[in-house]
């Protein structure tokens, strides 16, 4: 791969910034969701703590890419965040589904109203991205046995799958009350397919399609951000009752994740 500079930064610096941004978006939703549940479990503070560590480490590594110490810190922060996400997933699954009285017949209800099942894995993904970024900043051309661009395309495919499922569950809960709510399920799905294709059997056509779909996914993220903000206003009391509607309305960090995931793919396509 031949790293291409963009606006004065190298691709892995961009990925470090994207790592920080993704983590912040996830932390916002985690904080709101955990506050809604009144921090009933001490583990609910974990994403704030490990997330902050990852954000700081990523931004420092982006600012000083030549310092191996910061690189190492980013790697550790990444693994820590990834582990936290896995533990969080266990918590969400156990407390949100397993111990609930309704059993399997109520699974769909608990998926809609319990702790969002895939949300903690978003932190895991951010952590893994941090690890990949650290390797890249160290000058390595491959990670986890895959060439860098391929690793990124596969990463994007997997995280988009998770984002689509989670958005799907919650948009289903919202009864698709606005047709735009189908957008994050359709367009990113196509991007996912193109991403897998690019990882396994790249070609110029697939490359072009993937690029277009990534840009569209980016757009979906921006539109989604606007729609979720508007969604706050469609609740009773709108933005005036923000302290309630932030808890009950659409998650404000989530749409931005599509921007982040798409940006990673674009970095892999254009800058590596």
């Amino acid at each position: 791969m031949t790293p291409i500079e963009f606006l004065g930064l190298y691709p892995f610096q961009w990925l470090a910034i994207i790592t920080a941004g993704t983590t912040l978006l996830l932390m916002v939703d985690a904080l709101v969701g955990h506050y809604r549940r009144a921090f009933a479990y001490r583990m609910q503070y974990a994403p704030t703590v490990t997330g902050t560590a990852l954000v700081v480490a990523a931004l420092l590594a982006a600012a000083f890419p030549d310092l191996p110490l910061l690189n190492q810190l980013l790697s550790w922060a990444g693994w820590l965040a990834a582990a936290t996400g896995l533990v969080g997933f266990g918590y969400h699954f156990y407390y949100g589904i397993v111990i609930k009285p309704g059993g399997m017949k109520w699974l769909l209800h608990y998926l809609m109203y319990g702790a969002p099942i895939l949300a903690p894995l978003g932190l895991t993904a951010a952590g893994v991205l941090g690890v990949i970024t650290a390797r890249g900043l160290a000058g390595e051309h491959a990670v986890f046995g895959l060439v860098m661009p391929v690793a990124l395309f596969l990463f994007v495919t997997i995280v988009l799958a998770g984002a689509i499922v989670q958005a799907g569950i919650l948009h289903y809960r919202g009864a698709f009350n606005n047709p735009a709510m189908y957008a994050p399920l359709t367009i990113p799905s196509l991007a996912m397919i193109a991403g897998a294709w690019m990882a396994l059997a790249p070609s110029t056509v697939v490359r072009a399609a993937f690029a277009v779909l990534l840009w569209m996914t980016l757009l979906v993220g921006f539109i989604g951000f606007g729609m979720h903000l508007r969604g706050l206003d469609r609740e009773m009391g709108g933005l005036y009752l923000w302290h309630v509607n932030l808890l009950e309305g659409p998650p404000q960090g989530a749409p931005g994740l599509f921007i982040a995931w798409a940006a990673i793919g674009l970095v892999g396509l254009y800058l590596l």
Partner: protein
């Protein structure tokens, strides 16, 4: 838009909108309309709106005010008594029914303003009770003259119009062809009690389908879980008739006239209805609204009362009452409520009263129990004034002991049931011999006694609800008697000799008179009746439209 703006051709009135605004409305008072609907509730709102949308000229009258949800609904129990029928009625029999705030709404939207939004379809079996269960001594519980399948498309239609929020898989009744338009609500603490208890006992339990938005729809936001559903929804998330069918009716050119108590239905010498005479706000005189057809939708006390009050030389027993059955076969649904105390905070006043969970596991004729029919178990969440009255009545408690028990108000959780009641000719709504209301009209005298079957069913339900509450960790269980809903008195049937209306809700005796409310029920089903009333009204509107096209309506 000012009131009485005469320049808008024909649109010279205004009505409260649902966001505190005024909407323009037509004035049909000087004309003979196609349809005059008496009662702007579950039945009247649906049939009036659909006929207006089909191009009929429609006036919908209601005895009570046209509510403005943004300003008229008060977040206070006591101040909400204005939403109910508080004119005097006499109640008697062995088990006198509590009326007023228990089950009788008044005003545009009717009882859908204060009801608990439970939106259930009846089961196919409920329409064929007699065929399936055979005769039961001392009752006349009979088949409906129509089948579930006749009503199924209309259930779908009203569920879509009301955006019923229900689970993706609803385990009881005939399997659904379509998903509920919106998803079920999150469960509150009381509903979790029901789920816990049922899970422990192996009783199937599901999220409850209710007529409250769980997601934004058009100009209405989703529920914010105020818990004041029984006192008027200021959020507009509750899909009452007031915020769904009434705005449709007005937009389609209908006039919705509040504060218009109907005194009698007028008819001509051929025995065809010609309109109604009603009171208007600020006047003691009767006003005549001429109409080519009349639909009575006053619910199961006011509808028979109106027909009986409309007697004349041509109809000495009351309008459309050649069968003598108007006012007879009055039913309620038994609604015992069972309470228990829990170590955790329940805060029963939060979230919609039905809480989000329900079981219809016992809503069928069960073998070996000694009664036919069944009941649905739901969740309730009374506010303090309602709750203390129940506790005082249910336990005979008063004094220091009552006040101390009330300190634990936030730790109580309660279940309520809706149970089949047998139709009995002796249970009736008649005109009181001497009492008169403020309009000078004879007040209704409601006479009700439970049948042996009803009592056994109630006993069974209390045992079951107690088991469920205790399985969920509840202690100090007690129960209170209650009834809910009003049904019968103008029952439908194929034979004009023992029914008032046919399957199209058309009166046998008066071809341009229809009845669209719970009074047409020939048996009580085992589910809350509102959705069935609304579906019947939707079907009646279509039948009337078809009849008009064929020239058979007038």
């Amino acid at each position: 838009m000012t009131q009485q703006d005469q320049n808008m051709d024909g649109w010279s009135l205004s009505a409260p909108g649902i966001h505190g605004e005024l909407v323009p409305m037509r004035d049909w008072s000087r004309e003979e309309v196609d349809v005059c609907v008496v009662g702007a509730g579950a039945g009247g709102g649906v049939v009036g709106a659909k006929l207006a949308e089909a191009g009929f000229s429609v006036v919908i009258l209601d005895a009570g005010p046209h509510w403005d949800p943004m300003n008229d609904f008060i977040s206070d129990e006591h101040a909400s008594t204005k939403l109910y029928w508080t004119d005097e009625r006499i109640t008697g029999g062995d088990n006198p029914v509590e009326l007023g705030t228990n089950n009788s709404g008044r005003g545009v939207g009717g009882s859908t303003i204060h009801y608990s939004m439970v939106a259930l379809r009846a089961h196919p079996d409920h329409f064929r009770r007699r065929t399936i269960e055979g005769a039961v001594e001392n009752t006349d519980h009979r088949d409906w003259p129509l089948a579930f399948d006749d009503l199924e498309p209309y259930y779908e239609e009203v569920e879509e119009a009301l955006q019923i929020a229900g689970p993706t898989f609803y385990p009881w009744g005939k399997p659904r062809r379509k998903r509920y338009p919106q998803r079920e609500h999150e469960l509150n603490a009381s509903a979790n009690v029901l789920v816990r208890g049922c899970a422990k006992l192996g009783i199937p339990v599901a999220p409850s389908p209710i007529a409250t938005l769980s997601a934004p729809h058009e100009d209405r936001p989703p529920c914010v879980y105020r818990g004041f559903c029984n006192f008027g929804c200021t959020t507009n998330a509750k899909s009452s008739i007031l915020v769904t069918y009434i705005p449709r009716a007005i937009r389609a050119g209908a006039e919705v006239r509040g504060n218009a108590m109907v005194a009698r239905i007028t008819h001509d010498s051929r025995g065809r209805a010609t309109g109604v005479l009603h009171f208007r706000k600020g006047s003691d005189d009767l006003f005549q609204q001429r109409a080519k057809s009349v639909i009575v939708a006053g619910y199961a006390i006011e509808s028979p009362r109106l027909l009986l009050n409309s007697s004349s030389s041509l109809f000495p027993q009351g309008l459309a009452n050649s069968s003598g059955v108007v006012g007879k076969y009055f039913m309620v649904q038994s609604s015992e409520q069972v309470f228990a105390k829990f170590p955790e905070r329940i805060n029963q006043y939060k979230a919609p009263p039905p809480g989000g969970a329900i079981t219809e596991h016992f809503n069928r004729t069960m073998p070996g129990v000694g009664f036919v029919g069944g009941y649905t178990i739901e969740v309730i969440g009374p506010h303090p004034v309602d709750f203390v009255a129940k506790m005082a009545a249910g336990r005979g408690l008063w004094g220091a002991e009552l006040r101390r028990e009330m300190f634990d108000y936030n730790h109580f959780s309660a279940l309520g049931m809706v149970g089949t009641v047998m139709p009995n000719r002796k249970n009736e709504v008649k005109l009181h011999g001497t009492e008169r209301d403020r309009y000078g009209l004879p007040v209704p005298h409601v006479i009700f006694s439970y049948h042996e079957n009803d009592k056994r069913l109630i006993k069974h339900s209390i045992v079951k609800m107690k088991e469920i509450l205790e399985a969920a960790g509840g202690t100090d269980v007690w129960s209170d008697h209650r009834t809910s809903h009003l049904l019968g008195c103008c029952r439908m049937g194929d034979d004009p000799a023992d029914s008032v209306v046919n399957a199209d809700c058309r009166a046998h005796d008066v071809p341009n008179l229809f009845i669209c409310d719970g009074s047409v029920f020939p048996n009580s089903t085992g589910v809350n009746p509102s959705l069935t009333i609304q579906a019947l009204a939707a079907r009646t509107a279509d039948r009337m439209r078809d009849m008009a096209r064929r020239g058979e309506l007038w």
